[in-house]
Subunit: 198 residues, 2 copies
Amino acid sequence: MVTNSTKSATSAFDDKREQLLRAAARCFNEKGYSGTSLKDVSAHLGLTDAAIYYYIDGKQQLVYECYRRAADIGRAALDDAIATGGSGLDIAFDYVRRHVDAHCGSAGPIAIMSEIPSLRDADREHILALSREHSARFEQVLEQGIEDGSILPCDVRMTGNAIMGAINWIPKWFHGDDAVAQRVAATFPDYLTRGLGA
Amino acid sequence: MVTNSTKSATSAFDDKREQLLRAAARCFNEKGYSGTSLKDVSAHLGLTDAAIYYYIDGKQQLVYECYRRAADIGRAALDDAIATGGSGLDIAFDYVRRHVDAHCGSAGPIAIMSEIPSLRDADREHILALSREHSARFEQVLEQGIEDGSILPCDVRMTGNAIMGAINWIPKWFHGDDAVAQRVAATFPDYLTRGLGA
DNA sequence: TCCCGGTTTTAATCATGATTAAAATACGGA
DNA sequence: TCCGTATTTTAATCATGATTAAAACCGGGA
């Protein structure tokens, strides 16, 4: 019935839908959008491909929601980091820590937005807007750090691209190993912010 | 006729074949392996899709050679960096500089190896081997830097992953703008090695 | 000018995979 | 136990795109 429930009450339906999004995210990360068949995704849930249509409107809708979920998680990581306050460098560190946790922790696989062109026109606009907004906000954090002296002057756009790239690439080599997750958490925030100066 | 010429003599055939690989790399980077049709690739050369088969054995062969070319370029960047010598940190800096140049400079689009699973079994083994070897060699450079005191002790595998990720993600946002290329060159080597300590 | 190899296109073929409709199944409550 | 809704499957349909074979084209040398 594909209910567009706005409520967050945890129905069995919503649960399974969430599972579906995670399974799809994992598949998309591994084999790309066009490379994953709905059968690949449904297999993760022990269903047939056709069953997916009970939960979601189609494959396009599936990527779109995966990407939107990814954007939400990234935004939340930045929101929370900003909320904790501190210098620009502190915020940047906390953001990396949270975002990396999101990729490696129990939040499950998060889709990396590596195939924006394959989205429907309207969806692409929306996702691009979210993505640009996120980048801009992070760059502002870097600028704030430059002003408060915690970060060395730099090209914030390029530096932001470097940091985002390092994070976005994680799913390409991280596959759920807890021990590795710890090493990521112990290394990434420190390494990626140490390069910002001090 | 799809000659497997080992010579490097620049025949018109080899030239066009090289153009083909670059066009394919650009397409794969933008829309993924399955997402790009041979028609997409051939359009870049002003040909029809069927004409591609005159130059290469098929789509699988095309990705394989794109990835192999990418591996070669990455290896060359590391070889050259090591050849110039210096501390581990110096080498790391030079490697990043060269590899980033390769992505943004006239070497043309380099395929990012983001869809290893879609390779044929035998090809996948080969590419994975090259990839692992490259990572291992770069980690050795980092270790050398730790020994000679130019790099702070760290988890070289994770740090290497972070650096490679930042570089590999470049094609996702860089689209040939020369001015941007300069900013990348001015920012990445410095930022990515500054985080290694000193 | 005519011929030939090298190059490209046209016009099939063929498999894959998204999507849909109808039928089957499961399961909680009356 | 029986019913009705929620869930899933089965069995089409349909479009896309890789691949191939045969025909057409093109430029240089005899």
